[in-house]
Symmetry: C2
Subunit: 582 residues, 2 copies
């Protein structure tokens, strides 16, 4: 037996007990006659005590222990004279009578501390050491806890967890697939799933009624920051449900998680907002509602006063930043630079200061009298001391730019606190997006999303106008998940493929099995998928998903710890019937 | 809202309630004036009632419903006159007032009944219809339940579920890998994991202490019956444990599952048996202990009596089949044919009948007197009425043949009941297997398995003699899982690789990251993996794992429902930098 207890559980109640502990040497402190060793395992740290006077040999053994040595000790639990009430074991220490070195350790390339001196690359190469750090391990403990609670909730709601295949079929629509050459079927390939979408719909046709899976998905995309080639989804589907049934069930899931894992109570139902309102009032399809600061349409008030920028703009809009009228020239310049960055791409920024003394000062004083500016302030509900920020241009583009500016002002005004949670359903998304480059419609969600029944006539007249039964779950400006009520009617599904530019043959080749399944009694159904990595990162208060994943890949899709991908042997290639292109 | 209740929950307590149900039409019975429709969903079947006299139009609607139509009905719960107490809803029926057809269905290619008329191929092609069958769906409900209970148990024992990468690195040792060409790293490949073995060991080095994962694994093997290219393991690892700690923890898991899922109480601790005893007494490393019928070594008694077969054999052994002395010539011939099948490959079978009247009759009467045969019977504890079956040849081969014969006799004697459970740990496996063909040792378990410390000296003298700290969990002759205490010492790991014929460069190339990790304080650790598909099939009483998997592949590795694998476009191949060999 290697231990009677872990390093995180002993306290004064155990005083006098003889115990055996095993763990890693966090550090050794040599205080002349006394030596202290901090012994660490996943559960905590326990202080070991050695006295030169009572046992010089053992004390010298302790002093010789290196950082990260794996040791086993026997001893008696004793009350500390110098208590540390910040740690659970801080009232006791172990009077050690025996040390066994289980394994030595070379000096780690970085310190195993919350604030490590290791850079990103080094941490990833030695991920097994990085994972020893409390800060990283606790994220994975949180991930474990969340996964268990998700299952507990969904199981209690009669969802069945069903494993769908990892070796499935390549579909050209959507993102790029990872493919797997088949040795037994020469010249043919499996594909790794971008999502189990078709399989979960098949399960509904199969009468499974409620399905979920916490499942790895794969996309061979060029990796922007914070994307991983393999990622994890909470994938769900339900039969005989309306959109409201789904929103109700899954705001219940989010609420359950916040309650059980974070002890935070979220009120139900979550707020619902249409896509059009989200774009028009927040310049985003995932508005951060921790603060208000709505975007207002100034077009009517701004036009026709001789200011060319507004006169020539399709749209003029503004946000009102509370208490920012005192912004200096430098601060205003910073904001102007912010919106002019290529990522945002605005032409400029106009401001109106509503000073506390009632005076008004703006960068368009030449064109607009204080009376006119007051009208603006009135529209936006500006109070004395507030700052109006105004932008103009093409409507959609300007709204998005104002949305970014709004978030920036939210940050500057301290309105986006990490311990505040504003959940939201964004609904009524458009069914299609038009792509100018390829001159065709794309499915905004995916080709199985159903249109609102009252919008179906627009298929023949104005497909861009059709609203979908699609919804996103948004929290603090982050999209946690999204889904839709699916099409369960074959004719409608064919119409959808047709509008997306599929020939009947293409539709048959790619989705024939699903269309075929729909012949045999498909129930009305819908579902949702949450990004699990993202959800964990929100719970952990992290900005990136990287440290919610035990073994992430870098931006080149490489695992630098195991040095993968790697070359394979000629024999392997030959067996698979493929050659490398030179 | 599509329904107020499911088709499985209504009973007499709901009588008089107005309800809405949705589901599939299982069947329609037209009894002249009355029509009954069985409405089915995942939860059960509810009878719908229609009366020609009270509502002819509605009754005619009901009569026109086809099998597997998806419908929604409104009506009132009423007590049945003709109760069916075999089904939970059998005391009620719905007096329907409205039918809405949600979706029509073509006639399914086979019947959706427990005993279907669909053959294997048809069932797989239309798996979504096959899954509607109670018999198939209940296996997947069982699988779900087992997965939840496994997590509950392991979570309660402080195991953390950690997701390891699916895109990992190819290792030539072991079975063939599925590989994934990397677009971003041209000419390089990921491999799909055959098991997360190295990652779980890395997690122990990382101090995670207790890890588990219910995880898909992949092997590109020629598929014998009952193998799948992707399969699911319950993968576990623990630190600071001895073999006994692991056996104790995981017999607890098996016990928990049997108790919670099947209501069967298994006694702990499970029986332990050495590999040598298992082979010597049962001719198998996974003996079925639901019955005794041990193999006994007859070599000493059989030799030197002038019977060439025994005299020239390395080994002669026998089993005693209780109450089978009355076997006819035909039955004995059947057994002889059984052992001579190529899968078993014996030369012949000798029998001795201990008749109830005390007489003895054998196929070797010419060489052995009744007195001698009585000695055999004595050794095997044969009673009057028993049948001794004797085989001779090379020791190991003969034991395996006798083991197969033993199982066959167990079947014939009705000793292998499906509701009897005999769990067992087989321990003390050899560390190495010698392969005559390649003239080298292979790891019997895998290269990370630790030898018994007292056997380490044999590395230099007789590696074949080294016993491993390896164990298999066996139930009713089926291996449910297996594992080992791992090597945590770099020097010993190097010695292991050396004995397996790895050059230091090969070891470094393939497992460098693990050997490197061992430099930084690896704890003593060990683990186990259970075959989840197999475990479910045992719980379901199935002979095959196929129907424990929602979407299995056939023996050619094909998913016939989605028609995968399939060709991919030239553009995809070009992007990946590979060509098909012509």
């Amino acid at each position: 037996m290697y231990r009677t207890n872990t390093c995180g559980e002993l306290n004064l109640n155990h005083a006098g007990q003889r115990v055996t502990l095993s763990g890693w040497v966090q550090r050794t402190r040599d205080l002349g006659g006394l030596t202290f060793v901090d012994l660490r395992d996943r559960y905590g740290i326990t202080q070991l005590f050695f006295n030169m006077e009572t046992n010089a040999a053992l004390c010298n053994e302790a002093r010789a222990l290196g950082r990260e040595y794996v040791i086993q000790v026997e001893g008696v639990v004793a009350e500390r004279s110098n208590k540390n009430l910040k740690m659970p074991t801080g009232e006791i220490e172990i009077m050690v009578s025996r040390i066994i070195i289980l394994n030595k350790a070379e000096l780690p390339p970085f310190t195993i501390e919350d604030d490590t001196d290791g850079g990103d690359e080094l941490r990833m190469k030695y991920r097994y050491l990085d994972l020893r750090r409390n800060a990283v391990r606790s994220n994975l403990e949180l991930r474990h806890r969340m996964a268990q609670e998700i299952r507990k909730y969904l199981d209690s709601k009669q969802f069945l967890e069903v494993e769908t295949p990892v070796l499935m079929k390549s579909t050209p629509e959507g993102a790029r697939d990872f493919v797997v050459p088949s040795r037994m079927n020469r010249g043919q390939f499996y594909a790794l799933p971008q999502s189990p979408q078709t399989f979960k719909q098949i399960l509904m046709v199969a009468g499974f009624d409620r399905y979920f899976q916490i499942v790895k998905c794969f996309r061979d995309e060029d990796l922007r920051a914070d994307r991983q080639p393999e990622f994890t989804q909470i994938d769900c589907e339900m039969s005989f449900v309306t959109q409201d049934d789904i929103l109700h069930t899954f705001e219940g899931l989010v609420q359950h998680l916040f309650q059980e894992v974070k002890g935070v109570t979220l009120d139900k139902p979550f707020r619902r907002m249409s896509f059009n309102e989200a774009m028009g009032s927040y310049g985003s399809d995932k508005p951060d509602l921790r603060f208000d600061m709505k975007i207002h349409d100034l077009s009517a008030l701004a036009k026709g006063q001789g200011f060319g920028v507004f006169d020539n703009a399709e749209y003029t809009g503004a946000v009102c930043a509370p208490g920012c009228a005192g912004y200096t020239r430098k601060q205003i310049d910073e904001l102007t630079d912010f919106v002019k960055r290529p990522q945002i791409g605005a032409q400029g920024l106009i401001h109106v200061k509503f000073h506390a003394d009632g005076t008004i000062q703006s960068s368009v004083d030449k064109f607009f009298t204080p009376v006119r500016l007051k009208e603006w302030g009135h529209l936006l509900g500006a109070q004395p001391g507030d700052l109006l920020l105004v932008m103009a241009g093409k409507r959609n583009k300007t709204l998005v730019q104002l949305g970014e500016l709004r978030l920036e002002m939210g940050n500057r005004c301290g309105l986006r606190g990490k311990n505040k949670y504003a959940p939201l359903w964004v609904i009524d998304f458009p069914l299609f997006e038009w792509d100018d480059e390829t001159q065709r419609f794309y499915a905004m969600h995916h080709p199985f999303t159903s249109p609102k029944s009252e919008d179906i006539p627009y298929f023949d007249t104005d497909p861009g106008r059709i609203r979908a039964n699609a919804y996103d779950c948004v929290m603090n400006g982050v999209e946690l998940g999204g889904g839709s009520i699916r099409i369960h009617d074959r004719t409608l599904q064919h119409k959808m493929f047709q509008t997306l530019g599929f020939t009947p043959e293409q539709a048959e080749y790619q989705f024939g099995f699903l269309l075929n399944a729909f012949k045999y009694g498909a129930p009305p159904h819908g579902g949702i998928a949450f990004g699990f990595d993202r959800l964990v990162s929100m719970f952990a208060g992290l900005d990136s998903i990287r440290d919610t994943i035990a073994f992430p890949k870098n931006n080149a899709g490489r695992d630098v710890m195991i040095d993968s991908p790697s070359t394979i042997s000629d024999e392997q290639l030959k067996e698979l019937g493929i050659q490398l292109e030179v």
